[in-house]
């Protein structure tokens, strides 16, 4: 979009204020991660003590690893599945689309704790059946004269169920974010491409996808955010040996959230910021190089 007029000073100020609003609490948190004392409100001098202790704390380190892994995997899977599903939904007649969209938004509308508990009950029920089955049946295969006996593994809640739960609550956000782009898209474009001899896979890849890309990106961002921040659903679906960072943080609220958590949050935040800066610098260099070549 080109609206000709650039933003005036007043508009820039407004943007600045919104960003201040978004970042004020974060700055405060970063400052207090360098506190020598253990408080998050009383300043006792500068120290990197909590950073040193953080790396000794394997409960937190382990949970950071799990959080990143589950969020990245869930976001990737949900983005692909959600985009396909959104394209499918918007190609349907309204009679079909509307009820499906309603079902789609259930995980969003439901209170987290209800989603968490009901998913947990579902997993427990399914695994109960499966484990009964696994206990009594074995698969015997005769291969090249040798007999292999395959015993079905027993299942329990763990990383797999955690991932399923995250994918489930992520997909609605992708669909909701891609949907408007699909509505905005000119429907004749796809038909035209197909009339011109594109297979419909090509039409999807070359016509639809570039059009809805901003929606996919913002959907993926939202999904990743939801995954990182989720506590309740994870708590009920992670089983007894897996723990995410959010679970570790909420687990501390019976006593107090330790200052190491401020330190780990700061590190994560700064890492993402640094990545962002690097990507941007590289891109702007590439752009400059392209311009030079051009002229």
């Amino acid at each position: 979009m080109n609206l000709r007029k650039k933003n005036g000073l007043l508009n820039r100020c407004f943007m600045g204020l919104v960003f201040l609003f978004l970042y004020a609490p974060i700055f405060l948190l970063i400052i207090f991660s360098f506190n020598a004392g253990n408080s998050s409100v009383v300043w006792k001098g500068f120290s990197v003590r909590w950073y040193a202790e953080l790396f000794q704390n394997r409960i937190i380190m382990q949970s950071v690893y799990t959080t990143l892994l589950v969020s990245l995997l869930a976001t990737a899977i949900a983005t692909v599945a959600g985009t396909l599903a959104a394209v499918g939904f918007y190609a349907m007649r309204r009679r079909w689309r509307d009820p499906l969209m309603t079902v789609n938004s259930i995980p969003m509308m439901n209170a987290d704790i209800v989603t968490g508990v009901s998913l947990c009950l579902l997993f427990v029920a399914i695994f109960g059946f499966w484990n009964d089955f696994a206990e009594h049946y074995r698969l015997v295969i005769n291969l090249f004269g040798e007999v292999y006996r395959i015993t079905f593994p027993k299942l329990s809640l763990g990383f797999g169920t955690l991932l399923i739960a995250h994918i489930t609550f992520n997909i609605p956000y992708i669909i909701l974010s891609v949907g408007p782009k699909l509505r905005q898209m000119d429907k004749n474009l796809v038909d035209a491409a197909q009339d011109l001899g594109c297979t419909w896979f090509q039409a999807f890849w070359k016509v639809i996808l570039p059009e809805i890309m901003p929606g996919i990106v913002s959907g993926a961002l939202i999904a990743f955010t939801m995954s990182v921040d989720d506590f309740v659903i994870s708590y009920f679906t992670a089983g007894s040996a897996t723990s995410t960072l959010a679970m570790a943080i909420y687990g501390m609220t019976k006593k107090r959230v330790s200052p190491e958590i401020n330190a780990v949050s700061t590190l994560l935040f700064v890492t993402v910021l640094a990545l962002l800066a690097i990507v941007n610098i590289r891109e702007s260099r590439a752009e400059a190089a392209a311009r030079r070549q051009h002229s």
């Binding site: 004392g37 253990n38 408080s39 998050s40 409100v41 009383v42 006792k44 000794q56 704390n57 394997r58 409960i59 899977i77 396909l84 508990v117 947990c120 009950l121 997993f123 427990v124 015993t151 079905f152 593994p153 027993k154 299942l155 329990s156 809640l157 763990g158 990383f159 797999g160 169920t161 991932l163 399923i164 419909w200 896979f201 708590y235 009920f236 679906t237 992670a238 089983g239 007894s240 040996a241 897996t242 723990s243 679970m247 570790a248 943080i249 909420y250 687990g251 501390m252 609220t253 019976k254 006593k255 107090r256 959230v257 330790s258």
Partner: protein
């Protein structure tokens, strides 16, 4: 078209396999040998123990020490509260071996037949636990539990904002401090405060008494006495001097004191709650031997000293209690303030006026819950 369908099918199949694969791995390598021994997909499966406790409730070095000593891998998870733990156990979402609930939750779990009896022959360190903490009302024959920590609930107040020393629960309802009092956000503790003040038992099932206690709090709410209902936010609020009076646990008072020297702690004269958190093993635990080994380790004097120093909650281990002042002096090079030590490990005469929570019958629990919601309407 077919290509796409095949692609979709294959990818969903692949994810399916990946997911089951992941779960299997967890079963075999982490929940342990007994269940999945048949699956034969265990890369060097060792012994494990699944522990669930509260966050910031252990000196994490102890976990490493235990693993080094025994070769048992510890999966340490944390829960938010006794109720959250109960909720998770009830829905079958987790198979922990060792949990560390508080007294009233233990008696509820025993009542619902969810705990396993311990084999105390495997826990020789149980003998070091002080007799005061054995055969308590939540586990009268001491068949299920080994105490982990204990402490008192009391009033924490800011001496810069409150003139005369507080000695009674009446301060929690006093309009003089309107807007500066923090109510604890937990129906049992909050109503308990009012029950102590009125001179009733905190384990009463008499609806009239409970309603009277509720009325007391409700009136104070209408009079604007409370700034809010808090749990761990109490740390921030008291440290920054945003509130004058609050109710919280002795061990946590000591943490706050580091950041705000104006704070004082008192166990009111009407009596208060004396809580014990104890380790127990769940009935369907899959690693009972490892669980008992863990419990034995955590009951040792060394572990108790380290924990006491880290979390500032008193230990039930007799030797640890005696040795702590010396341990403190050795570690920090300065003598321990005995007054503070007595706040952490309350002397017997204080405990005598305290009472511990027992599980309430279901009807009373529902009443507590309803009243608590009514307060938030």
């Amino acid at each position: 078209m077919k290509r796409i369908a095949a692609l979709a099918l294959a990818s969903s199949l692949a994810t399916g396999l990946l997911l089951t694969g992941c779960s299997v791995e967890h079963v075999s390598s982490e929940t342990g040998a007994p269940v999945s021994s048949g699956s034969g997909t265990e890369p060097g499966s060792g012994r494990v123990v699944n522990v669930c406790s509260w966050g910031e409730y252990i000196d994490t070095d102890l976990i490493d020490q235990f693993e080094e000593k025994t070769g048992i891998k510890v999966n340490y998870q944390t829960a938010e509260s006794n109720e959250a733990l109960y909720s998770l156990l009830k829905s079958g979402g987790a198979t922990f071996d060792v949990i560390v609930p508080s007294d009233y939750m233990i008696s509820q779990l025993i009542e619902e037949n969810m705990l396993a009896e311990l084999n105390y022959d495997n826990i020789p360190n149980f003998s070091k636990i002080d007799d005061r903490f054995k055969n308590l009302s939540y586990d009268p024959e001491n068949k299920y539990t080994v105490p982990y920590t204990w402490g008192t609930l009391g009033i924490i107040y800011n001496t810069a904002m409150v003139e005369e020393p507080i000695t009674s629960w009446s301060a929690m309802f006093d309009e003089q401090y309107a807007g500066d009092v923090l109510l604890i956000n937990n129906s049992r503790d909050a109503l308990g405060i009012a029950l102590y003040y009125l001179g009733y038992s905190v384990n009463t099932t008499d609806e009239a008494q409970i309603r009277e206690a509720f009325q007391l709090i409700s009136d104070a709410v209408s009079a604007g006495v409370y700034q809010g209902k808090v749990m761990d936010e109490v740390f921030q609020k008291m440290e920054q001097g945003n509130a004058a009076i609050s109710t919280y646990y002795a061990g946590d008072y000591l943490t706050m004191l580091e950041n705000n020297p104006d704070l004082a702690y008192v166990v009111p004269e009407e009596g208060s709650n004396w809580f014990v958190d104890a380790m127990c093993v769940l009935k369907d635990a899959q690693n009972k031997d490892e669980a008992e080994e863990w419990i034995n380790f955590m009951a040792s004097t060394e572990a108790n000293l380290a924990n006491m120093d880290y979390i500032w909650y008193a230990s039930p281990n007799t030797e640890a209690l005696e040795q702590y002042p010396a341990y403190y002096e050795e570690t920090y090079g300065e003598p321990l303030d005995l007054e503070l030590y007595e706040i952490m490990a309350a002397p017997q005469e204080v405990l005598d006026r305290c009472e511990s929570y027992l599980v309430l019958p279901e009807a009373t629990r529902a009443l507590y819950n309803d009243l608590w919601i009514e307060l938030g309407l």
